[in-house]
C-alpha cells in the first residue's frame, strides 16, 4: 500500500520547535524506501508518524486512499522492527512470532502454521524453542522481522535495524532484508543514517535534514543529481570536496559553465572519484591543475590530496604510479557529471537538470 503525507508537521508540546515542517511525499507501494539523514533530522519521527505511535500536529496521512491520521498503530496494521529488536525476552522464538497473532485471537493451529512459515522465510526455523537471549544479534533481527510480518502488515517499518550488528553481519542482513522484501512484496520503509546502506538496499531514498525533505528519488539519481549541497555531501564516500569559489576557480570553469550560472555560483562541489589524472605534463591545455600534497593507501584504496588554487581537495583516482614531483603542479580533469555548482542558498544550479533514466 502506498503511503502519502500531506502537509504534515509535528511540533513538541510547547509548540516552540518544529520537528517536522510541512512534509509532503508519496511512498510507492511494494517498494523498499529508505529514510536517510543524520541524527535528529526527523527520520525516526517520520517513521513513528507512519506507524501511528505519534500523531501529527498538522496535516494528513494516507495509506492508499484511506485517511489514517487519527488511527492508532494497531488499526493501521503496520509491522515494525525496532533498533533493539524489542523481542520479548521471556518468550521463546515461536512465542515471539506468535504474539501478534495471539493478540489478534487467531486459532492456535493456524497461528502455529503461519509462525512456522515465517520462521522458514527468515531462516530461524531451527531456533523456535530458544529464548532471544540465546540467539546472536543477526538471528534476533530475523525473529524481529518474522514477528513484524506475522499479521501480514500493510507496511513493514524498520527503524535502524542494522545499527546494532557488526560490519560483516550488517552486509549480510542488508541483503536478507532485501530478499525478504522482494519475496513478500510488502511495502517497506527503512530508516538509517548510513548512506552506504541506503544506497545498497533502497528502491527510493528520502533524504531528510532539519525536519524537511532534501530529496526523494532513486539512489542513482540522488548520487548523480543531488538537489542541494547537503545531499551532495551526505551521499558518497569519500565525502564530496567543497570549495568556496574564488576568481581563480571561476576562471578555470569559464569554458565549461555558462557565465550567468558561474556568476551566481558560490560553492563548488567535486566528487573525489571524478578527479582523474591526465598522463601529460602539459598543464596549459588542461584547465585544472594542483600541487599534490599527500597520498595515503588503505588496502586497494589510494587517496590523494591536491592543493587546488590553495584549497586541499581529495581524489581517489590517482594510483601510486602517478606520483609526481610534489613541487610541480599536476594536471587533472573532472568527469562531466562529477562536479556541482551551488548558489548562495546551497541549491545545485549546475549541471542543469536533465531527465535521467535510472534502471535498477
Amino acid at each position: 500500500m502506498d503511503v502519502r503525507f500531506e502537509h504534515v508537521s509535528l511540533a513538541y508540546a510547547n509548540k516552540q520547535t518544529n520537528i517536522l515542517t510541512d512534509i509532503n511525499f508519496k511512498i510507492p507501494a511494494g517498494q523498499l524506501t529508505c529514510l536517510l539523514g543524520p541524527s535528529g533530522c526527523g527520520k525516526s519521527t517520520t517513521l513513528n508518524l507512519i506507524s501511528g505511535l505519534l500523531e501529527p500536529t498538522k496535516g494528513q496521512i494516507f495509506f492508499g486512499d484511506k485517511d489514517v491520521t487519527r488511527l492508532d498503530a494497531l488499526e493501521r496494521k503496520v509491522g515494525m522492527v525496532f533498533q533493539s529488536y524489542a523481542l520479548y525476552p521471556h518468550m521463546t522464538v515461536l512465542e515471539n512470532i506468535c504474539f501478534p497473532l495471539r493478540m489478534a485471537k487467531m486459532a492456535k493451529a493456524e497461528m502455529l502454521k503461519r509462525a512456522t512459515e515465517l520462521a522458514q522465510l527468515v531462516h530461524v526455523d531451527a531456533e523456535l524453542t530458544k529464548k532471544p537471549g540465546e540467539l546472536s544479534g543477526g538471528q534476533q533481527q530475523r525473529v524481529a522481522i518474522a514477528r513484524a510480518l506475522a499479521k501480514s502488515p500493510s507496511i513493514l517499518l524498520l527503524d535502524e535495524p542494522l545499527s546494532n550488528l557488526d560490519a560483516r553481519l550488517r552486509v549480510e542482513m542488508r541483503d536478507e532484508i532485501r530478499r525478504i522484501q522482494k519475496e513478500t512484496g510488502v511495502t517497506t520503509i527503512f530508516v538509517t543514517h548510513d548512506q552506504d546502506e541506503a544506497m545498497h538496499i533502497a528502491d527510493q531514498i528520502m533524504i531528510l535534514n532539519n525536519g524537511t525533505i532534501q530529496q526523494f528519488a532513486a539512489p542513482n539519481t540522488i548520487y548523480a543529481q543531488p538537489q542541494n549541497l547537503f545531499v551532495a555531501k551526505f551521499i558518497g564516500n569519500p565525502v564530496i570536496n567543497t570549495i568556496a569559489l574564488n576568481d581563480h576557480h571561476r576562471t578555470d570553469f569559464v569554458k565549461l559553465v555558462p557565465k550567468d550560472i558561474l556568476a551566481k555560483a558560490t560553492t563548488l562541489a567535486i566528487r573525489a572519484e571524478s578527479i582523474v589524472p591526465i598522463n601529460s605534463v602539459d598543464t596549459l591545455t588542461h584547465p585544472f591543475s594542483g600541487i599534490q600534497l599527500e597520498t595515503y593507501q588503505f588496502g586497494p584504496e589510494v587517496t590523494t590530496q591536491i592543493a587546488y588554487h590553495g584549497v586541499p581537495i581529495t581524489s581517489n583516482q590517482f594510483n601510486t604510479h602517478t606520483w609526481v614531483n610534489n613541487q610541480h603542479p599536476i594536471p587533472f580533469e573532472l568527469h562531466k557529471n562529477g562536479y556541482f555548482l551551488c548558489d548562495s542558498n546551497d541549491n545545485v544550479i549546475w549541471p542543469l537538470k536533465e531527465p535521467l533514466v535510472v534502471t535498477r
Binding site: M80, Y88, P89, K131
Partner: protein
Amino acid sequence: MNKRNLTKGLSYLILFLGALIMLIPFLWMVDTALKTAPETVQTPPTWFPKHWQFNNFVLAFKAAPFITYFINSIIVTFLTTLGQLVTTILAAFAFAKLNFFGKRPLFLICIGTMMIPGEILIIPNFVTLSHLHLINTYGALILPWLASVFSVFTLRQTFMSISDELYYAAKIDGSSDWNFLWNIMVPLSKSSIIAIVILQIIGSWNSFMWPLIVTNTDNLRTLPVGLSTFTSDAGTEFQLLMAASTIIIVPIIIVYILLQKHIIEGVSKAGLKA
C-alpha cells in the same frame, strides 16, 4: 596455606559469624521453648535445657484458640498481599509507562508519604475506620494495607528499566496496555514482584500493633496478637510464648524457602542479555 586459601577461609569465617549472629535469637527461642518456667529466668542462663519440656508446645497451643488465630492470620495475610500486589502492579505501571495529567506531582506526594512514620497514622486510620464502622472486622485488618507506596516505588523502578521499545513493539503487535502489563511487564519483573510479595507476607504475618488496636474479640485476632495471651499482670510465661512463637514462625520460613528459589532464578535470568 597460600594467600587465596587464606582469603577464602577468612570470608567463610566472616560469613559463619554473620550467620551465627542471625541464628542465635532463633536458637534461643527454640531453646527457651524447651525449658521449664523457672529455668527461663534463671541466672546465669543455661545454654541447654536441663529437662527437655516438649510438652510446652502442647500447653501453648491449648492456652488460646490458636487455630482461629492461625486462620485469621492466613486470611489477612493472603488478602492484603493479593490486594497490595494488584494495586502495586497497576500503580507502578501507570507511574512508569503511562502519561497522564498530574503524574509527577502525584508521584511526589506518594513518595512524600513514605516519610511519615507508621505510628503517626495509627490514630487517623483508627478514626477513619471507626467512622466507617469497620472496627473489629476483617475490613479493619485488611483495608489499610491494600496499597503500599514502598512497593509501588520499588516496582516502578523495575518497570522503568524495561525498554520503551518493548512497549511500542507490543502496541504495534496489537496488545492493549492491559495485555502488555500482564503478558510482558509482569513476567519480566518476576523477581521484584516476588521480593515485594515476600516482604508483604512477612510484614502482614508479623504485624502486631494494628491488629491489637482494631480488634477486640478472640475470633478476629491474629497470631502475633494471640501471643499476648502469655503475658499477664503476673508476668510472662516465656517458655510457652517461645513455644507458640516457634510454631507460628514455621509457615513464614516455608514461604521464604519456597520463594527463595524464584528469587535466585529471577536474578540469574536478569543477567542474560535480552
